[in-house]
């Protein structure tokens, strides 16, 4: 089984050739690929329902507060930036920086969860619940499934932070830290699809 790299490559913008090591453990890419396929199927299903009830879709989307989605996009992107910093710090053996960067990323993740809770609560207070119509059923389920990914990702970051702060010695530890980071980027990536599709496409 191939192992991730041990030699600390420069954190600068070196144009590394495309024949390098697999980032993280190979297994995490199985998760990325499988999740991308599943979400593509789910988005296809969403667009299919939209085609059947375009007016309902447009009217329901108008009730969503896109500001929440936009804020959460920026928050997740920023957390991804922090995770990139954390992985590079781990590679370079800068354990304190790595711990701080992971903490910053997790902080962003918690803000995401909090904003999602506020958004859902406000919608529910306006009487918009999963039972309201087909659109809102999918809105709650899709954002809920993504939120589940966020929670799994936060757990992964928590473990990665512990490993990084302990020094992340050897390819085994480096691989685990990088795999957690890749999963967090996947959470970010899925939101970049989910937000525009659910909030805007009608």
């Amino acid at each position: 089984m191939s192992r991730p790299q041990t030699a600390p490559p420069p954190a600068t913008d070196a144009d590394r050739p495309g024949s390098g090591q697999v980032p993280g453990e190979p297994g995490i890419w199985l998760v990325v690929i499988a999740d991308l396929v599943v979400f593509a199927v789910l988005f296809g299903m969403f667009l299919n329902y939209r085609a059947e009830q375009p007016a309902l879709w447009a009217a329901s989307q108008a009730k969503l507060t896109a500001g929440f989605g936009f804020a959460n996009t920026v928050i997740l992107l920023t957390s991804s930036l922090a995770v990139v910093a954390a992985v590079n710090a781990t590679r370079l053996g800068r354990t304190v920086d790595a711990g701080r960067a992971f903490a910053a990323a997790m902080g962003c993740g918690l803000v995401f969860v909090a904003l999602k809770a506020v958004e859902w609560t406000l919608k529910a207070r306006d009487g918009v619940v999963p039972d309201t119509n087909d659109f809102f059923a999918q809105y709650y389920v899709f954002t809920g499934l993504h939120l589940l990914h966020v929670l799994v990702g936060l757990t992964a970051l928590l473990f990665a932070r512990r490993i990084a702060r302990a020094g992340a010695h050897g390819p085994h530890d480096q691989g685990l830290v990088q795999s957690a980071a890749i999963f967090w980027h996947l959470v970010d990536l899925l939101w970049l699809l989910l937000f525009p599709i659910v909030y805007f496409v009608h």
């Binding site: 960067a101 970049l192 496409v201």
Partner: protein
């Protein structure tokens, strides 16, 4: 701390935020045809995921096979969903 983030990744982050902001504001009162707007939203969303995959997930330094597989899945999903959106 910023020294730990490659310059290219910083640029990608700013680009992603900019695309998201612009597509949000233009969507609010765009005079575009619904079908054009929908297809454009999907295309921009997938372009953003490609940036994340290449620069955040570090696929640019990965073996070409892995990189092409992920790119192919993103491209197929994008084409499939846009086609589905326009035809359905």
């Amino acid at each position: 701390m910023t020294s730990l983030v490659p310059r290219s990744v910083q640029v990608v982050w700013a680009t992603l935020v900019a695309i998201t902001a612009v597509s949000w504001w233009t969507n609010a009162d765009s005079g575009l045809d619904r079908r054009v707007a929908g297809a454009a939203i999907l295309a921009f969303a997938f372009a953003k995921t490609w940036l994340v995959a290449i620069h955040f997930m570090d696929l640019r330094a990965a073996p070409a096979g892995l990189r092409r597989t992920v790119e192919a899945i993103l491209a197929c999903s994008c084409a499939g969903l846009i086609g589905w959106f326009l035809l359905a």
